[in-house]
C-alpha cells in the first residue's frame, strides 16, 4: 500500500460516503473525491498498464497532466475509455474499469513485452515485415498478419457500440473578457475585468474555482489562500456581469478570438435532471481572453521512474491538500528546484513522514532550507536518485552523490526506504492555448521553460501561465516563502536502466537517443519516430524532459531544439460533445406541405438532399417495379398526381428581371409573354450544362423561376453572386420562394377533366390555357396558379397554391380525380415517365456534360451572350467522340441496370467501355426495359447494337441504341 487517507484535512466531505466500483470491486470514497484519490485512499496503487510494455502504473500527477491512471467509465451502457482517474469526480454508482491488461490488472500477459524491450525499441516496425516472403504471403500480406497482432496489443481502452442516450448541447456566448483558469491570477483578472463593467466569463476545468489556492499553504490578506479564493469567487458570483463556468475546459483557440470550451454538466452526478445535458459545448466569442491557466510540473527522468509510488511533488501535495490522501510510508522528495520544498513541508504538515529531500543542486536557498527544516528528514543536496526498487509499489530508492555541472556520480549508492518518491523537475507554464493563438513559444533559460509566444490574437497571459511563479507577484497581500523559481537545468539522471520519458507511450530516454542516432533530430521527427508526446496527455509531463534529452544528444540548447506544435484540443474532448445538439440530430429534415399525406397514404419516403419524397405508393404485396409501373401506366392511360413542391422556386423581380434572365439562361426570356412559361437551361461559366427548369412570367417585372430540387440552393446562390458581382446595376430582387408554394403536377389524358371538376374562376381550354400558359383560379376556395406544362409527356398541369393550403388543394384534386381513378405517383414513376420522354435530370446533367451532349443545343441562343457562352464552344466541348445522350432498349427482355457500362463486343470479358447507363426503367408505354445512356459518339450510334456490361452485378446482355425520345417524339400527347 502506498497511500492512505489522513484522519483530518482535505476538502472532501467526510460525512458523505460514496459507493462506486472499479474492475467490478466495490469501493467507497467521500463526496469531493476523485476516482484517483478515493482508490488511493483505499490502498490501490496500480491503476493501469502501460501502452507498449504493459508495465504496472500508478497515479503520477493530479488533474489533466495524468499520464498513467487511465480508466474506462461505463454508464447507461456506454463506454468512455481513457479517462484520467484524477479528473473523475466520484458519485454513487460510478462504474470504472482498468484498461490495456489481460487477464487482469494485477497479472498482465502483455508484460512479457518488457523483456523484448530492445527489440521493440523506437521504430523497430519500420525495419521488419517488409515482404515479399514466400508462397502466398506476398507483398504487404506479411505485414498485415503482424499488424493484426500489433493492433490488438496497441490501443488503450475499448469503445463500445451502444449509442449514447445522453444529450449534448451547444451554447454561444459573447463576452468582453474570458478568463481561463481560476487560480489566484485568474481571480484577480476576473475581478478587475468585472469591475470595469464588461461582461466576464470565468472558466475552470476544476469542479471548484480557486486553482492552486485551494491547496496552497500561503496566506493572502491574512487568511489561508483557500479562504481568500472562496471569498473572491463568492464576490464574482454575485456580480450580474460575471458568469462562472466550473468544470469547463477551454480547449480550442480559434480565429476571431473564438474559443471552444466543454462544460461537464452532469458527469459527476448519479442521474441527470430532465433536459440536462451530459456535456455542454461553449463557443465563446471574447473581446479579449486572459489566459490564467497556471503551470504544470514536470518530472526528472531516471531509471525506475515509472514505478507506482513515484509521483510529481505538486501532485502529492495536492492529493494531501485537497483529498487528504497521503503517502502511507516514508516520502523521499527529489527535486531540481525550490518548489518541492513547499511540497515537502505541506506533506509533513498533513501528516506524512518525510525521509529525505534529494536535491541535484549543491546548495539551496534559505527559504527552502527553512521549509526543509519544517518538513523534517535528511536534506541531501548535490544528490540524485539513480534507481527505484520494489515490485508493483515503491519500497526504496537508490541515491548517489551527484555533480550537477558534469552530470556525474561519486561515492556509494545509498538506499533509502520510501513508499513515495515525490519528484519535481520544475514548472512549465501552460502555454497550450496561448500557442494555439500565437507564434513560436520562447524558451526561458532562467525558468527552464517555454513562455507564452507573441499573441496573434487578443489575449494576455497572467500568473504562472506567464512564468510569474511567485504568488506575491500575482496577488497583493500574499505571504509565501521567498522561493527561487528557477530550477537547475537538469531533467535527466543518466544511469543504467529503463528511464521513462513518455510514460503512457513507454518512450524511454534511450529511445530518444536512438531516434537521434537514426537522424530523427528535429523535435517533430523525434515525436513522430518515437511517438513521444502523442499520447492522450499530449506530452504534458514528457515533452520538456524529452526535448532536454534530445538537445543534449544533439549538442544544441533547448531553445534551438524548440518544442512541438500545440494543437486543439487542450485536453481530449468527447466527440459527441463537439457534435453537441447534432448528436442524434445530424441534419434537419425538410418536409413538403404534403409530407404527412404521403406517409398516411403508405408512400415509401426517400431522402433527397434534406427533403423526403415518395419513392412509390406501394399497394400491399407489390414490388417496387410493380408499383411504379402501375403508377406510370395510370398517368399514360388516365391521370396521376405527383408532389413537386421540392422544386426550387425563385422569385426574380424588378424592372431588369427579364434582362437578368437573358444573361443567366442560354435561351431568351425577355420575349416571353406575361402569363406564359418557358423551359430554360443554365450553363456554368466554364460552358458545361448546369441546371434546367421552367420559368413563369407572372407580370412584366415578376418571374417565378423553378430549378431542380438538388440544385435549388446553389442556383439561388449563383444568381445572387452574378447579380452582386457582375451586374450590380441591374434592379433585380431574388427571393427563395420554394417554401411559399405547394406544387402538384396533374398529368395524364384525363388531367384536364380532373381540373375542370374542381377549378373555378378560369377557363382551362386550349384558348384560356394553351401549352405553357398560366392561369389563376381557385380550388376549394384556395387561390391557385396553374401552368400547363409537362415533364411526363402527357397533357399535364402544375398547380401551385400557398403552402398552407397545399393539402386542401391536393385533396380536392384527389377527390376530383376519383371518377378517373387518379393515382398519386412517386419518384420511380416520375423517372419512368421522363425516361420514356428522354428528358434529362441530374444523372445526365452531371457537371461533365454540355448542352450539345444532351441535345439541348436548340436552347443555345445565337442572339445574345449568356453565362457560359464564351467557353461552350471550345474544341474539346465540341469533339465528336464526347459522351452523348442516347436511348437504350434491352434486347434480352431483362432489366437494364443504371451504372452499367456499355461495350461494343458481346463477351463478358469485353473491357472497351464506350459509356454508361444513366437511368433505367420498365416502360409500360413501350412494354420493354429501356434506359438512357451517355455513349461515346452519342447520336451517331443510333440504330446500332451494343452490350451492357455490369460486372459488379453480373449483368451482361445485348442492347439496341436508339433515340432518347422513346415515346411520342413529336409531343402530340402533351399538346393534344
Amino acid at each position: 500500500m502506498t497511500m492512505r487517507r489522513a484522519s483530518s484535512g482535505g476538502r472532501i466531505d467526510r460525512t458523505r460516503t460514496v459507493r462506486f466500483t472499479f474492475d467490478g470491486k466495490a469501493y467507497t470514497g467521500h463526496a469531493g473525491d476523485t476516482l484517483a484519490s478515493a482508490l488511493m485512499a483505499a490502498g490501490v496503487s496500480v491503476f493501469a498498464r502501460s501502452f507498449k510494455y504493459h508495465r504496472p502504473r500508478g497515479v503520477f500527477a493530479c488533474g489533466p497532466d495524468e499520464p498513467n491512471a487511465l480508466v474506462t467509465l461505463i454508464s447507461e451502457g456506454v463506454r468512455e475509455p481513457n479517462v484520467q482517474a484524477t479528473l473523475v469526480e466520484i458519485f454513487d454508482g460510478l462504474d470504472a474499469e482498468s484498461q490495456n491488461r489481460f487477464p487482469s490488472l494485477g497479472f498482465d500477459i502483455g508484460a512479457v513485452n518488457g523483456l523484448a524491450g530492445p527489440l521493440i525499441s523506437a521504430g523497430f516496425y519500420y525495419k521488419t515485415f517488409m515482404g515479399p516472403v514466400v508462397g502466398s504471403i506476398r507483398g504487404t500480406r506479411a505485414w498485415m498478419l503482424a499488424e493484426k497482432a500489433i493492433r490488438r496489443a496497441a490501443g488503450l481502452g475499448r469503445a463500445g457500440h451502444a449509442p449514447d442516450p445522453a444529450r449534448y448541447e451547444r451554447v454561444n456566448a459573447f463576452c468582453d473578457t474570458l478568463v481561463v483558469g481560476s487560480g489566484p491570477a485568474g481571480l484577480v483578472a476576473a475581478e478587475s475585468a468585472a469591475a470595469a463593467g464588461g461582461r466576464v466569463i470565468l472558466a475552470d476545468l476544476d469542479a471548484t474555482m480557486g486553482g492552486s489556492a485551494k491547496w496552497s499553504s500561503a496566506m493572502i490578506d491574512g487568511r489561508p489562500a483557500a479562504e481568500w479564493a472562496a471569498g473572491r469567487v463568492a464576490a464574482l458570483e454575485a456580480m450580474p456581469n460575471v458568469r462562472l463556468l466550473p468544470r469547463t475546459t477551454v480547449w480550442g483557440y480559434y480565429d476571431g478570438n473564438t474559443l471552444a470550451a466543454t462544460e461537464r454538466v452532469s458527469d459527476h452526478k448519479s442521474s441527470r435532471a430532465k433536459g440536462e445535458p451530459r456535456q455542454r459545448s461553449w463557443t465563446i466569442r471574447a473581446g479579449a481572453a486572459v489566459l490564467a491557466t497556471g503551470a504544470q510540473e514536470r518530472p526528472i527522468v531516471f531509471p525506475g521512474n515509472d514505478r507506482p509510488g513515484v509521483m510529481l511533488a505538486g501532485a502529492a501535495l495536492r492529493h494531501a491538500g485537497e483529498f487528504a490522501v497521503l503517502p502511507a510510508g516514508p516520502v523521499v522528495i527529489f527535486t531540481n528546484n525550490d518548489s518541492a520544498y513547499t511540497a515537502a513541508a505541506g506533506l509533513a504538515e498533513a501528516g506524512a513522514e518525510i525521509a529525505a529531500i534529494v536535491d541535484v543542486r549543491p546548495e539551496t536557498s534559505d527559504a527552502a532550507r527553512a521549509l526543509a527544516d519544517k518538513a523534517g528528514g535528511e536534506l541531501l543536496t548535490g544528490h540524485a536518485i539513480v534507481h527505484t526498487h520494489g515490485g508493483k509499489a515503491l519500497s526504496s530508492v537508490s541515491v548517489r552523490r551527484f555533480t550537477l555541472e558534469s552530470g556525474t556520480f561519486s561515492g556509494e549508492t545509498r538506499r533509502i526506504e520510501a513508499g513515495c518518491l515525490a519528484v519535481s523537475g520544475g514548472w512549465s507554464p501552460m502555454i497550450h492555448l496561448a500557442s494555439q493563438a500565437g507564434g513560436k513559444p520562447a524558451w526561458s533559460e532562467t525558468l527552464q521553460a517555454f513562455l507564452p509566444p507573441e499573441p496573434t490574437q487578443d489575449w494576455t497571459a497572467v500568473g504562472a501561465a506567464d512564468g510569474t511563479f511567485r504568488l506575491a507577484d500575482i496577488v497583493t497581500g500574499a505571504e509565501a516563502p521567498e522561493l527561487d523559481p528557477a530550477p537547475a537545468p537538469c531533467l535527466e539522471i543518466a544511469s543504467p536502466g529503463k528511464a521513462f520519458v513518455d510514460f503512457q507511450h513507454d518512450v524511454t530516454a534511450d529511445d530518444v537517443r536512438l531516434a537521434h542516432r537514426e537522424g530523427f533530430a528535429s523535435v517533430e521527427h523525434l515525436k513522430r519516430y518515437t511517438t513521444l508526446g502523442m499520447a492522450t496527455d499530449q506530452g504534458r509531463t514528457s515533452n520538456i524532459p524529452g526535448m532536454a534529452i534530445l538537445a543534449a544528444a544533439t549538442g544544441r540548447t533547448i531553445a534551438e531544439t524548440g518544442t512541438t506544435r500545440f494543437r486543439p484540443p487542450f485536453s481530449p474532448v468527447s466527440i459527441a460533445a463537439i457534435a453537441a445538439d447534432r448528436h442524434g440530430d445530424l441534419r434537419p429534415e425538410r418536409r413538403t406541405p404534403l409530407h404527412d399525406w404521403h406517409v398516411e397514404r403508405g408512400a415509401i419516403m426517400q431522402p433527397a438532399g434534406l427533403w423526403f419524397r415518395p419513392r412509390i405508393y406501394g399497394d400491399p404485396g407489390e414490388t417496387v417495379e410493380q408499383a411504379y409501373v402501375r403508377e406510370a401506366k395510370a398517368v399514360r392511360e388516365r391521370v396521376g398526381i405527383v408532389d413537386v413542391s421540392t422544386l426550387g422556386k425563385i422569385a426574380v423581380q424588378g424592372p431588369d428581371a427579364a434582362a437578368f434572365l437573358d444573361r443567366v439562361y442560354t435561351n431568351m426570356f425577355s420575349t416571353l409573354k406575361v402569363g406564359r412559361a418557358r423551359y430554360g437551361l443554365m450553363l456554368r461559366e466554364d460552358g458545361f450544362a448546369y441546371d434546367d427548369g421552367t420559368t413563369w412570367r407572372l407580370s412584366e417585372t415578376d418571374f417565378l423561376m423553378t430549378t431542380t430540387t438538388a440544385n435549388a440552393g446553389r442556383v439561388m446562390q449563383n444568381l445572387e453572386y452574378w447579380l452582386d458581382t457582375a451586374w450590380p446595376d441591374l434592379r433585380v430582387a431574388l427571393t427563395s420562394v420554394t417554401d411559399q408554394w405547394a406544387g402538384a403536377a396533374v398529368a395524364g389524358p384525363k388531367s384536364r377533366e380532373v381540373l375542370a371538376a374542381c377549378v373555378t374562376g378560369t377557363g382551362l381550354d386550349d384558348d384560356a390555357l394553351p401549352f405553357m400558359g398560366i392561369v389563376h383560379g381557385e380550388i376549394a376556395g384556395v387561390p391557385v396558379m396553374i401552368c400547363r406544362l409537362s415533364f411526363s409527356g402527357e397533357l399535364a398541369y402544375e398547380v401551385y397554391c400557398g403552402a398552407g393550403h397545399g393539402r386542401h388543394v391536393w385533396e380536392a384534386l384527389m377527390e376530383a380525380g376519383e371518377p378517373h381513378h387518379i393515382v398519386p405517383y412517386g419518384l420511380e414513376a416520375l423517372g419512368t415517365l421522363r425516361i420514356e420522354k428522354g428528358h434529362v435530370t441530374a444523372t445526365e446533367i452531371d457537371g461533365r456534360t454540355t448542352a450539345r451532349d444532351l441535345h439541348l443545343d436548340w436552347m443555345l441562343s445565337g442572339k445574345k451572350p449568356f453565362i457560359g457562352s464564351a467557353l461552350m464552344d471550345r474544341e474539346a466541348l465540341l469533339a465528336p467522340d464526347r459522351l452523348g445522350l442516347v436511348g437504350l432498349v434491352s434486347l434480352d427482355g431483362r432489366a437494364l441496370t443504371a451504372g452499367a457500362h456499355i461495350v461494343e463486343r458481346g463477351d463478358r470479358e469485353a473491357r472497351d467501355s464506350i459509356g454508361h447507363v444513366t437511368a433505367v426503367c420498365f416502360s409500360p408505354a413501350l412494354g420493354k426495359y429501356v434506359g438512357l445512356a451517355l455513349i461515346r459518339g452519342g447520336k451517331a450510334r443510333i440504330g446500332s447494337r451494343a452490350h451492357l456490361s455490369d460486372p459488379l452485378r453480373d449483368r451482361f446482355g445485348p442492347v439496341e441504341i436508339v433515340s432518347h425520345h422513346f415515346f411520342d417524339p413529336d409531343g402530340s400527347r402533351m399538346h393534344g
Partner: protein, 196 residues
Amino acid sequence: MAEPLSPLGDAWRPGSHGNFRDGTGVTLTETRPGSIVQVTAWPDTDDAVRAAIRDSVTLDLPAMPGSGVAGEALSGFGIGPGRYLLAGSTEGLETKLRAAIAPETGAVTDLSHGRAAFRIQGESAEWVLSKLFALDFAEAAFPLGHGRATQHHHDITALIQRTAPDGFDLYFFRSFARSFWHALCRACEDVGYEVR
C-alpha cells in the same frame, strides 16, 4: 376557404414540458401571422421604399441596418441591405404594399405561406436562443424591435426580431419548421416550457 395548415403537424403538443424545477422558463407559440411580406429596395430607392411602407401601412422603419419596429398588429425589420420583412396579423398586406410600391421603386414578395413564425417568450428566452444561434441576444446587443438574419446549423435560415424585453419572433422556411421546432423544444427542456 379553410385555415392554412400549420407545418408543425403532430409535433405541436400544447401544454407544459421539460424541467419545471425553477418554473416556466419560456412559452412557445406558433404565431401564424396573416401576412408575411418582404420588400426590397433598389440601391437608390431605400428611402422611397421606407416612405411607401410608412404611408401605406403606417410602419415607420428606421434606416439603421437591422433595426425595426415591433407592434401588435404589424411588425417589420431590416433583414439585409435594402430589404425588410413585414409581418401583420391579417391578410392582405402584400396587396397594400404592391399598390404603394411600384416596380421602379422596389419589389414586394409575398412569403405568408413560405415562412413559419414562432414566438419565444420568458426569462430564459435568451438562454434558449443562444443554444441555437451564434448571435448575441443580450438586450444591449439586440435591442427591442431590431431584427437579425442568421442561421441554425448550416441549413436553416432564420429571421429573428426582438418583440419584447424577454421575447423574440422567429421566421423560418416553412419546410424546416417541424425540424426546427423539435430543436427548439429540445433546447427548452432544461428550463421548462409551455407550448401555447
